[in-house]
């Protein structure tokens, strides 16, 4: 097929008149059964380079994509054009996924999107033996390189697969963000005879700003005063999940329509928010970087970062969502440059802590290896055998597999990890190399903050695009700097917000009489954390009175005039009478009688020492009972504890007491952690 013929078909199927030159070059190579790496800027139109040929091939095109939101988007678009496309991912029910697999086997599909992790699924692997395959695509291909940002270990298998494919099967890898090093790594990994097409990365409708602040509050204040004046809708990225909640509540407090999004939300809520984003339902979605990559919304007018991303590549990728219609769009990056007592800048700490916490210690790797030398274990069994956090076990497991020390073997319906005969020694030098690279990238991000030359040029240079264009449109070139100068009334508003905003405890379930409860503060708030720590671990005596004030306030806000019959409290493991004494004070002030009859039936360890949810749950399972069941029969009780982490204890007590026909259990705690930050 020549370009003219192809463009005729393009018009009827996709409604576009022409291919961009680089699109056609790519497509032409794929028609010849070649392997291609396509590096083009965000919003360029890379998807068409596989979607169009897919419609022309006999069989099925499989697209490995790390982004669920994007799959949904693109499949919807394709279906509207009458192209048979579906996706397989964790958002669908197993039955839906099975149906999709069957459709693929039956030759009913042209395009199938699938997450790389699915390559570990036996149903899928079995099905791949029966499909008529025409092309393989790796979207967001930088995720296959450890040197790329957001490396996804699951892609290792896709790479292995690509190497095993017959030589004349077309393969396309696409990305917007590959440095020269990542490019070479992808080329090397995919095939010797891969051809790379690289375009210019400049996005000239971007207006780039950096705002340096001296206080965390300045970020909140600036947004409160300026968000409504920014045209259109956008995204505000925060560094942590907790901050998505806090920023969103604050902006709603001052009257801006926002919502929060993070990977902790369930699939339905995520879907709703993504749809809402598409339909401009909110002024801004406040999100961690879980939202965004690959989303094709034409008119995102602004993207604000309240924390710096891990590198200029991350930044380019994340702001890439904005202004895909080519119209001016604002990209604002906050940086808190105040220094702590060690001279370290405030906003350097969070990304640095991600790097430091990115890899478990070698000791923990050895623990896993030793456990696996004894017997083959599933992930859960490893977690239990080693007392490591699930997230850590996942990292360790991926590294051990990568190094050929351990293999994941299918045992019927489950997967076990097996130590390998002749396994190499654990090689930790690659970990150090990677860490050093990440530190360097973070330094480059700081450089971006501090440069006085064109910001877009800096980003393009960093990404290995050395074409010479005129760069303008930033606060170092043609635009005025954005300033912080908050009004007093805004500051007062913020104080008011702080007083009234409290973290929720979501523990409600149809299996118990628990209702959602309330905490007086996040555990991360330093004054609270320090006070709790001092009392619990440094013999600092009873919890101080300011915590009592906070807790009473939380109680009143949440439960108002509700009537309670009893206050009960979680019996201690190691901190003696701290919780009991505090509960007694609560009881006096609130004038609700206290009971000491919630007791332990067995010994449990302090939850704090257990590093994962499974062990925490096991640790408290069946450990509680109520010594005078009649006392709570039909009663409404307040259940008090000091810190709420995984929630396992409260939930366990909830189900134990529900057996005694309690009417309602309302949890109240001093502090709630976020994502186990205890």
């Amino acid at each position: 097929m020549n370009r003219r013929e192809a463009e005729k078909k393009l018009k009827t199927i996709f409604g576009f008149d022409h291919f961009y030159d680089e699109q056609w070059n790519t497509i032409d190579l794929l028609f010849q059964g070649k392997k291609v790496l396509l590096i083009e800027k965000t919003g360029f139109g890379k998807s068409l380079c596989f979607q169009f040929p897919a419609t022309q091939f006999d069989g099925l095109t499989i697209i490995f994509s790390p982004l669920i939101a994007l799959m949904r988007d693109q499949v919807k678009g394709l279906n509207e054009k009458g192209i048979n496309a579906k996706y397989i991912n964790s958002e669908q029910t197993p039955a839906e996924n099975s149906q999709t697999i069957q459709d693929a086997i039956d030759g009913k599909l042209k395009i199938l999107y699938i997450a790389p992790e699915r390559q570990e699924n036996q149903e899928w692997i079995k099905a791949t033996r029966m499909m008529n395959l025409s092309m393989i695509v790796i979207d967001e291909a930088h995720t296959i390189s450890v040197w790329g940002h957001d490396f996804r270990p699951a892609f290792r298998r896709i790479i292995n697969l690509v190497k095993l494919l017959p030589q004349d099967l077309p393969v396309l890898a696409t990305t917007a963000t590959a440095t020269k090093r990542v490019q070479e790594d992808i080329e090397k990994q995919i095939s010797d005879d891969i051809q790379t097409i690289r375009g210019e990365l400049i996005r000239d409708n971007f207006e780039l700003y950096v705002i340096k602040v001296n206080y965390e509050d300045d970020k909140l204040l600036w947004l409160a005063e300026n968000l409504s004046a920014i045209e259109g809708n956008g995204i505000i990225y925060t560094g942590t999940r907790a901050n998505t909640e806090i920023y969103s509540r604050w902006l709603e407090f001052i009257g801006a329509k926002t919502t929060e999004y993070n990977a902790g939300l369930d699939a339905n809520s995520r879907k709703e928010i993504e749809n809402g984003l598409m339909n401009n339902e909110w002024k801004a979605v406040i999100s961690t970087n879980a939202l965004g990559m690959g989303i094709d919304k034409s008119d995102i007018r602004f993207i604000v970062h309240t924390q710096i991303p891990a590198s200029p590549i991350h930044y380019y990728q994340e702001i890439g969502r904005a202004g895909r219609d080519g119209k001016p769009s604002k990209l604002i990056l906050f940086y808190n440059s105040s220094k702590d007592e060690n001279g370290i800048e405030e906003d350097y700490k969070l990304p640095k802590s991600f790097i430091d916490g990115g890899r478990p210690s070698l000791k923990n790797y050895i623990k896993v290896i030793e456990a696996l030398k004894q017997e083959q274990l599933g992930e859960r069994q490893i977690i239990k055998a080693t007392n490591l956090k699930q997230t850590q076990v996942k990292v360790i497991r991926a590294d051990l597999i990568e190094q050929g020390i351990v293999r994941e073997v299918i045992y019927g319906r489950s997967k076990k990890y097996e130590y390998q005969f002749n396994a190499p020694e654990l090689n930790s030098t690659s970990f150090d190399e990677l860490r050093n690279l990440k530190l360097k990238e973070l330094d480059s991000m700081l450089e971006y903050i501090n440069i006085s030359s064109s910001r877009m040029k800096f980003l393009c240079d960093y990404l290995g695009d050395d074409s010479h264009t005129e760069y303008k449109n930033c606060d170092n070139t043609t635009l005025d700097k954005l300033k912080i100068n908050p009004k007093n009334e805004t500051k007062e508003k913020l104080l008011e917000f702080r007083e009234s905003y409290l973290p929720e405890l979501s523990v409600e379930s149809k299996y118990s009489k628990l209702v959602d409860g309330i905490a007086s503060s996040y555990y991360g708030v330093s004054s609270v954390k320090n006070a709790l720590y001092r009392s619990k671990h440094e013999d600092g005596g009873d919890f101080p009175d300011f915590l009592l004030r906070l807790t009473l306030k939380a109680f009143r806000k949440k439960y108002g005039q509700e009537q309670f019959d009893l206050i009960i409290y979680v019996p201690p493991t190691e901190s003696g009478d701290l919780v009991k004494n505090f509960a007694e004070k609560l009881s006096q002030v609130l004038k609700i009688p206290i009971s000491h009859n919630l007791i332990k039936t067995g010994v449990s360890k302090p939850q704090r020492v257990l590093k994962n949810g499974y062990l925490k749950k096991d640790n408290v399972a069946k450990k509680f009972t109520y010594s005078q069941p009649k006392e709570i029969l039909g009663k409404s009780v307040v259940l008090f504890d000091d810190i709420f982490d995984s929630g396992a204890t409260i939930i366990e007590i909830g189900s134990a007491l529900s057996k005694f026909k309690v009417a309602k259990i309302s949890p109240l705690v001093i502090a709630r952690t976020v994502g186990g930050d205890i």
Partner: protein, 308 residues
């Protein structure tokens, strides 16, 4: 050999209804022409016909096989990921004993393994028996494994019958190395892998299958895997055999080919046909696996080769 050939190897090995010999001859021809298996699949069908002498039906089958290459790629990726080895007959890791014993006609073009490949390079023995073995036979198996262990020979075993169980127990007891030959595909041996886990990771066991990886056990595969056991063993011991069982015909077959086979001399009360095998050319050994003095004059010499 590079991994990128593996999907092609599987496509060749698992073309249905084509004799192993035909497949191996393709491999030999490629070798002689200094061509790879990838080259083969890219050749025009006219060349398949002319240079590789494939007939019309065979051509059709190979055309189908070629279409399945991407599918095989997925399968290979999955197997390698799980730590299985896939060894084409041209691989330097492929068992030289198997190649030599089974030859072009019967040596499987691809074998699947898990464990220490080095074991295939060692001198080996196999012990055969029927399903209804008696204590003498079990004792015999134990003794032979013990001797093999002392003489640095590895043991080839099946997993199916009573004698295999004894052999595998004795292997564990004497910390002996062994090859376990499967009557099924390698990816369906989960309980076995669980059982032999420690032996596998310490390099004492190699598991082999020559079948399509997902095949489950069948009587037919069991028969075929017996042939592989013979093929992998440099020496064969018969614990007991009856005229009607599978062992018998195999042993007779091998005796006719002039292969040395050691047969336990049974006492007259035992209900087996061991002594008939001896009369047909099997070498008599006692319950300790030692050559019996009554068995003939070349005893001394044989004793040396057996236990050196």
């Amino acid at each position: 050999m590079m991994n990128e050939e593996l999907a092609y190897w599987l496509a060749l090995a698992h073309v249905p209804n084509i004799k192993i010999k035909t497949k191996n001859e393709i491999i030999v021809r490629l070798f002689e022409r200094n061509k790879t298996i990838i080259d083969f699949f890219q050749l025009d069908t006219s060349i398949w016909e002319k240079d590789f002498e494939l007939n019309k039906t065979e051509l059709e089958l190979f055309i189908d096989a070629k279409k399945e290459l991407p599918n095989y790629a997925f399968m290979v990726e999955d197997l390698l990921e799980q730590g299985y080895n896939i060894l084409p007959i041209t691989s330097s890791d492929y068992s030289p004993t198997l190649k030599k014993n089974l030859g072009r006609t019967y040596a499987p073009p691809v074998i699947y393994t898990k464990g220490n490949l080095q074991i295939m390079k060692e001198k080996s023995i196999a012990i055969l028996g029927s399903q209804k073995v008696n204590n003498n036979s079990l004792q015999f198996a134990d003794n032979v494994v013990k001797n093999a262990s002392a003489n640095h020979k590895i043991v080839v075993s099946g997993v199916a019958n009573r004698i295999d169980k004894q052999v595998l127990d004795s292997v564990l007891k004497y910390k002996e190395q062994s090859i376990i030959v499967l009557p099924q595909g390698i990816a369906t041996f989960q309980t076995g892998f669980k059982k032999h886990y420690k032996q596998i990771i310490s390099g004492d066991v190699l598991v082999i299958s020559t079948f399509y990886p997902k095949s489950t056990w069948s009587a037919q595969l069991a028969m075929q895997s017996n042939a592989i056991i013979y093929g992998l063993a440099s020496e064969i011991y018969v614990a007991d055999s009856n005229e009607e069982d599978g062992t018998w015909s195999k042993v007779m077959d091998n005796l006719r080919k002039g292969k040395t086979i050691y047969v336990r001399e049974s006492n007259p009360k035992e209900k087996n046909a061991n002594n008939i095998l001896i009369s047909k050319g099997g070498k008599a050994v006692d319950i300790f696996g030692k050559l019996n003095n009554t068995a003939g004059k070349e005893d001394d010499e044989s004793q040396k080769t057996l236990f050196d």
